[in-house]
């Protein structure tokens, strides 16, 4: 598929999903707007936390050499496939009344959902960032070593140098956060008007047999993910023209 056809396919998909989403939101049902708003808040908060911690962690792992590093890299890669329900159970145990963080009273709150999604997103972003930065590091290491660049400075330079490639890592994290259902269901409880997000609402409405609402919510979800991907793709294309 050439570039023009690929762009057309993106536009058609965006228009179809966007129109469906618009039709739903045009009703201005405050409950739906609330669900969409909370979904975005939880996922973007988790993405921010995952990115702020995951990128430096991945960069540090890429430039560091210490005993056990390989095992850590393998473990981090394995955590990319961590089942969300497992994360949900672990966060539930930590936040439940008898758990170590029970005194904060966070269970069944949006904060608990942000914590669970952050735990899912962080290893994914760190693992992808580690691979991207390690490839750059192998190219730059001889000159950095001769110049006398320290590890911390190297981490900063590599993060700046790979900033456009690292959008892939953050996009992967966003995709995981937005589409996740198991963990937020367990730690959020799917409480209407408080912790109900798009994925948990879709699961609930489907089980109730309201497929139309499920499909429309799915369209909104897809539109958001597709829109963000289009923006990221455009940014990457612009950056490769502008910065080489």
């Amino acid at each position: 598929m050439n570039m023009r056809h690929r762009n057309s396919a993106w536009l058609i998909a965006l228009t179809v999903f966007g129109s469906a989403g618009y039709l739903l939101l045009a009703d201005c049902d405050p409950r739906l707007l609330e669900i969409v708003g909370l979904s975005l808040f939880v996922s973007l908060s988790a993405l921010c936390i995952g990115t702020l911690l995951g990128l430096p962690l991945g960069a540090w792992l890429a430039v560091s050499r210490f005993p056990g590093r390989t095992a850590l890299v393998v473990a981090l890669n394995a955590l990319m496939g961590l089942p969300s329900v497992v994360v949900g159970v672990l966060v539930y145990l930590a936040l439940s009344r008898s758990g170590p963080l029970g005194s904060f009273g966070l269970l069944y709150s949006p904060t608990a959902m942000v914590i669970a999604q952050s735990a899912l997103v962080l290893p994914l972003i760190a693992a992808v960032a580690r691979q991207i930065i390690e490839d750059a590091w192998q190219e730059y290491a001889p000159e950095f070593s001769l110049i006398g660049i320290g590890r911390l400075h190297a981490v900063g330079l590599l993060l700046a140098d790979c900033r456009f490639s690292l959008t892939v890592a953050t996009l992967a994290g966003l995709g995981r956060a937005m589409s996740e259902v198991g963990a937020v269901m367990i730690v959020g409880g799917n409480i209407e008007g408080y912790t109900r997000v798009m994925t948990t609402a879709i699961a609930l409405e489907t089980s109730k047999g309201d497929l139309a609402l499920s499909i429309l919510l799915g369209c909104v979800l897809m539109t958001i993910i597709l829109g963000l991907n289009v923006i990221a793709h455009a940014l990457r294309t612009w950056a490769s023209r502008r910065y080489g």
Partner: protein, 239 residues
């Protein structure tokens, strides 16, 4: 730091003997050019001197010391370019020297002007042409004020005008007091730049002479063959 004395240097990357008991002594002035056929170990020697690889045997003494006490810089055949501005690609290399931001900025602007890239200081380094990239790499090395500058075929794949610009910069860096040790395949460039020539073959220094003497009358058969444009396999085939 000088004289730089190399004794019995051996290196076998991937089990293949490339340097086999190499001896060499270099003074701290001028431009020394390393000549030799592909695979003769020119780049390997430069990387060993830069400390980027461990030797399998032999010693390198820097004015009697095991480590160089002056600054050392190297420009690679394909220099690294960060996806940052031309200015930032020089400036970052001055951070480890503990200079203030104003000093780093002033020194960066100075060297960029000297290599003719001041007008491109804000452009992205990855968008420069091959010749401009090599000039930027030289500016980065120059800004570090090295005592020894190692150049690994700095004009390979450059056109004549870009080559001329790079050679002018190399001469200016020498005038600034840096010792330059460079490898090249280009006999014309060696004639134009070299104060002395080190000819490598069979993992050793076959000749180390002043440039004038080397080009007037090469002593070894390998050097004579190299200058006549004959390759080792060709000699073996003919004989």
């Amino acid at each position: 730091m000088f004289p730089l004395r190399i004794s019995g240097l051996c290196c076998q990357p991937n089990g293949r003997i490339v340097l086999d008991g190499l001896d060499l002594e270099l003074s701290g002035e001028g431009i020394s050019v390393i000549l030799g056929a592909n695979g003769s170990g020119k780049t390997l020697l430069l990387r060993l001197l830069a400390g980027l690889l461990p030797a399998d045997g032999g010693t390198i003494r820097w004015g009697g010391a095991a480590r160089p006490d002056g600054r050392l810089a190297m420009v690679f055949q394909q220099p690294m370019m960060l996806r940052l501005s031309v200015h930032a690609n020089v400036e970052f290399a001055l951070h480890p020297q503990g200079l203030s931001a104003a000093e780093r900025n002033a020194r960066t602007n100075h060297v960029l002007a000297r290599v003719g890239l001041a007008h491109r200081a804000g452009d992205c380094a990855r968008l420069l042409s091959g010749g401009e990239r090599q000039r930027l790499a030289l500016a980065r090395a120059w800004a570090m004020r090295p005592r020894l500058l190692l150049l690994d075929e700095p004009t390979a794949s450059l056109d004549p005008s870009a080559t001329e610009a790079v050679e002018r910069i190399i001469r200016e860096i020498r005038t600034d007091g840096a010792k330059i040790l460079m490898s090249t395949h280009n006999l014309g460039q060696a004639t134009r730049l070299a104060d002395d020539v080190v000819f490598l073959a069979d993992g050793r220094v076959q000749e180390h002479e002043s440039a004038q003497r080397f080009f007037a009358r090469p002593q070894s058969a390998a050097a004579r063959a190299f200058m006549q444009g004959e390759l080792p396999w060709r000699i073996a085939f003919d004989h």
